[in-house]
Symmetry: C7
């Protein structure tokens, strides 16, 4: 019997040894990959590499620990299966309850890997708009214009609208009385456009122009003006445009 | 015992050999299919072929790897089943959490295969409209007219409305006072129609005509004008039509 | 051992032989059924027969293939069960993810079999209206009046409203001032009805008549006029009716 | 071995024989029940009996077939369990996908058995109103007043509103200016009521009467008039009542 | 072998005998309980006792039948487990589909047992109001004031609002111009209150009084009057109150 | 064999004996705990103790019964597992159906234990407000101000708003014409505040004050007045405040 | 046999001994960790440490108890598995029912650990705003401005909006008639800004400025004024700003 146990103990030690060697090895590999990525020509986002490295590290670590424990216990004939069976129902219940947690983490990983939005972007998620302040593994933090911070679980994010990746369009709708002649109005607007173009020289990509009349009835009609601007510059252009239009068209 | 182990090792090597041969073979087959498809008379969409080929390649690769590992481990009597049982509950939990990921990928594959929409189409998905910029395996990117980009998970896409596959219809509703005689109005509209037809010669498929009166009460009635145009040209026609109607009907 | 293997190989060949004979046989049966159906007195919808035949063919084919592979592998003692157990968790996850796909296909089959709507019908599904362009096994395509195409997954179709199977009713609501005498108005409307009846002789099933007053307050009351027409002709009748009512009642 | 096989074959034949005798027997029983039901004093709905009989017939038939096949295969040691295990995952997936189908059928059975609504009733289901045209095992068809047909899956039916089983109530709300004396108005309404009672002698169960004032502010008040009528006759009464009220109260 | 079978047959007969004795016994017990309950001093609702008795009877009956069949089949070594395994997938699918049915029945049992609402009560369930006409094991039927019958599945009932168990409150909101003095108005209302109190002597629990001003702006203010009445009498009081207020405050 | 059975019977008797002793013992323990709790210095809510005691009693009782039956049956080799396997599918189905029942009970227990709301509190649950009349193990009953009783299943309760635990705030918004000077208005309001403070001396915690202007445009602006009161006294204060404001500001 | 039992008893005692030693040890470890954390340089939130310590303590305690009981029972051959199998179905049902409870607890743990919001913060959760009063393991309590307390289950919390972590922005929109000159208005506003800046010296981070015109039509235009303030000070600034604007712009 001593023999039997000594054999088991030796076997356990071997398992432990192999496990720790594997752990060391995988960590080194990861470190190498990290360095290679960071010093590559077109470097990945720094933060993303760190996140991924830390993630894989802990996955590998806990997997190896877990397998080692199971193998050693089995070796000593501890009835893992019974304990598991007993714990199973509770575990299943917890599993159901923890669903949303896991969903958040998986979704969070993909958000970080896929580069759909990055810190500093102006985004709209499920009706909440703001600048991305922090992209965590479980939640994303967005700072609204009014200063409040929206903390959104990653798993509940459906469609994302990102405003910072392409040029924006400043769209100004002007409601006019049907008594106001279109030609006269468009003449005055042209002057406004020229001023706007000068003022926002750096931000405007395509100069403002009248898109046309988008709605009409026998009392008023709506004129739409469109200007392509650098990302997120459209609000400035829109506000200035409205100010100038009021001065030219309505005040005198 | 040496014999027993050597037999197992030989068996493992055979498994590995067969596996790699199968892998090579399947890759070649795929390559052939790809080439045949691309050089066929009515060629498939280039991108779709690449996507499918890459997809099948990785499915075949991981399947063969997986079966090889399982067979070899079994061969050495490593108790896979116990580890699996232990890992099962966690795995199930992850499985539930990863549902939406899998759903996205499956839906994405069908979007690419089925050709319901392609890059460059103008589509509406769940109230978000724009031009399809990118069709990924997990998300679809749509650029809105205002410049923002909607990133929509494929799995959450229900009904799709595609505007780029058939001729569009320019529909202009004109609200008129019941004091304005229908005959007189229709006379003036005919002049508008002629001008429009000339101006948009290339875009108009069926010339504009009065569909009829779609709503009425004792104060005003609504006249509907319909023009069939080439895909997505209807906005231009609608805007120009409205401008001309204002000039003819309301300004003098 | 050679004997043992040769026996297994012979067994496998028998399985293969039986399988392919069954396959051939079932295909012939299906072909026969198809021909019989198509040449029957009251023939089924041609397309539906083809769909069903193709469907059963592939179901039978893959079922036989699948059973043959399992039986042969079992014959060679390949541990299918272990592989299955391993693959099971992933498979379950995929199963959950693929739910919507399967639901679409099942719903699609029933749509084709049940004849609730056919290509060319004008239908409303979940707020989207249009003419059915294509009924696929996974999606249905509906072309809206404005030219856009709605692609709706079959599985997400709940209640369907079909406008093409029965006579339609043209319903015109006229809002009148309480100062306008009912008798006088109904007299004038009768003249309108006669004109309409003549004009739409072929489309009208039951001539127009005043249904009654459906809403009232101390300022205005609403008169409803109803005409039964051939399917989908009600819009034409409604628009013409409104035009004539404006001319008779409001313009002079 | 011949002996062994002959025994198995005999056993199989016995199974088949017993199965077909059971099948015949059950069919006869069903036929008897059907005839008894149909010729009973207070006969069930004819259609319902046929539906139920056909249903039970096919359930019994397929159950017996299924058990026979399983027993014979087991008899020949065909490893059903393995095939089942393999097929199980797919089957589960299909099971999930087919849920809505099964739900429809179960709900449909109860709709037919429970007599909550019958063909010809005017009902409202989930905001869709109309006359029940057809009650199928999977869907119910309702024809709207405007001629369109709503096809609703039985499983998605929640609360049903049936208008054809009890007397209806014609409810007319009249908005009046606070300058109009209540006594004077009620005097005039009494004349209207008498005319209505004469005109709809057959349809009215309880003569019209003023329920009272259901809303008021310093500009107008709302008078409610209620009449109990035979089922679905309330619309006719309401419309005629409104016409007469306009003539008496507002026109002179 | 004869011996073996005769033993099995004897065993089966014993099972059957024991089963039927148990059945008889349980029925008698139930009958006794029923009689005792019905003749008790504070008798339960008659209908509820019958429902419960019938329910338990059938549960006991089918349970005993089921156990008897299983035990006998097992006795003859019929492989129930295999059949069950085969039938299991289908059964699971049906189980999912039948969920809503079971949910309805369970909810129905609790509705009957718990006495939250009884036939004749005026209730509001999910926006549908009316008098409870029938409380079934699967649905509840509510007759709306307009005569239509709402048939609601018990399982879909969430919150219930019952109006028949406590005194109601007649609440009349009067909108007044800010030009009308509060003191003068309250003086006139006091006269109205006295008349109302006399008229509804039997129905009023607490005489009407001015609760106060519940809304105000610089044009009008809203006065609330509250009267506690016997259950469901509040509508009559409200309507009469409004009539009298119009006469006193607005007409002269 | 006699010996074998006598042994089994003796074993069963022992099981029964041990079971009943345990039952007695647990009941006594519970009784003791109950008494100790009730006579403790800061006594728990009386009702809560009774509920918990009754609950634990029945849980213990049924658990002991259940284990005793299983052990005895096992002792006599009755194949419980088979019956269970057979009953399992149905049981699972019932389990799904009974989910909402169990959810209600669990939620109910926590409502009673956690003291989030108690009988007599004024609460708002899912848009339904009223005074808590009864907190059952399955439903909660809330009496609305208008006398109707809301019966809400505990399991469907999400967020609860409790108005009875802290001081309330009387908030009165007054809309004023931009022609009315702020200083003059605030002078008059101060007089109102003094009167209110005297009148509601006992209920007011912080005297009323002008919070400021919460909305404005070029026609009117909205002034907000806030007063902290004892719980639920804010309505009285609000109504009196409005009355006084009308008298001071608008009537003269 | 005596030997056998004595062996088992000794084994049980060893299990118990090991268990309690482990328990003691883990508790000490936890205590140490707690002290170390609390006396560290940048101390964690005091409350969070206590919560976590108590939590881990009870998890460890119950896990050790549970494993000890299972091991001892197994030791005496009590058929745990059978009892478990029997109890399994009920347990599963309870598991489903208890889902929301577990979800609440898991979510609650993360709320406490993650420091997304702390007691005293002003937050908005699912449309309910207020100051966080208490963060429990199952619910969070938020006190609304009007004094009522919202009790929200942690598991139902989706996106959180926290107003107390960053500077707020006072945003005042002023609607102006198009007749009012922009230059004149902006001149007057500048005076207002100066006064505001002096008055709120301590609260204002960035002085108020005109952001621009955010909406316009031919009747009125909307001017937006923005001021960055310390967290939650924006309401005070907004209200004072509105008061001053009314005095300067509209009153004279």
């Amino acid at each position: 019997m001593l023999l039997k146990y000594s054999g088991k103990i030796i076997y356990s030690i071997i398992i432990l040894a192999v496990g720790f060697v594997l752990l060391k090895f995988s960590n080194k590999m990861l470190e190498k990959w990290k360095n290679r990525e960071k010093s590559s020509v077109i470097p990945f986002n720094q933060k993303r590499i760190d996140t991924l490295a830390a993630l894989f590290k802990s996955i590998v670590k806990y997997s190896i620990y877990f397998i080692m424990i199971v193998l050693i216990l089995e070796n000593f004939n501890v009835s893992i299966k019974t304990i598991l069976a007993v714990a199973g129902i509770g575990g299943l219940a917890i599993g159901f309850g923890a669903q949303s947690l896991i969903r958040d983490v998986i979704a969070g990983l993909f958000l970080i890997i896929e580069d759909q939005l990055s810190v500093g972007d102006y985004v709209t998620i499920d009706g909440r708009s703001g600048i991305v302040k922090e992209m965590g593994i479980k939640t994303i933090k967005i700072q609204d214009y009014n200063g409040s911070v929206h903390i959104i679980p990653n798993g509940s994010i459906g469609a994302i609208t990102n405003w910072s990746r392409h040029n924006s369009k400043a769209i100004v709708d002007v409601k006019l009385n049907t008594k106001m002649s279109y030609d006269e109005v468009s003449q005055k607007l042209k002057e406004v456009f020229e001023e706007i173009e000068k003022e926002f020289e750096d931000d405007i990509v395509t100069p403002p122009q009248i898109l046309g009349i988008v709605d009409t009835n026998w009392i008023e009609y709506t004129l739409r003006i469109v200007t392509e601007t650098k990302p997120l510059k459209h609000w400035d252009v829109e506000r200035e445009m409205r100010k100038k239009i009021i001065e030219k068209l309505f005040l005198n």
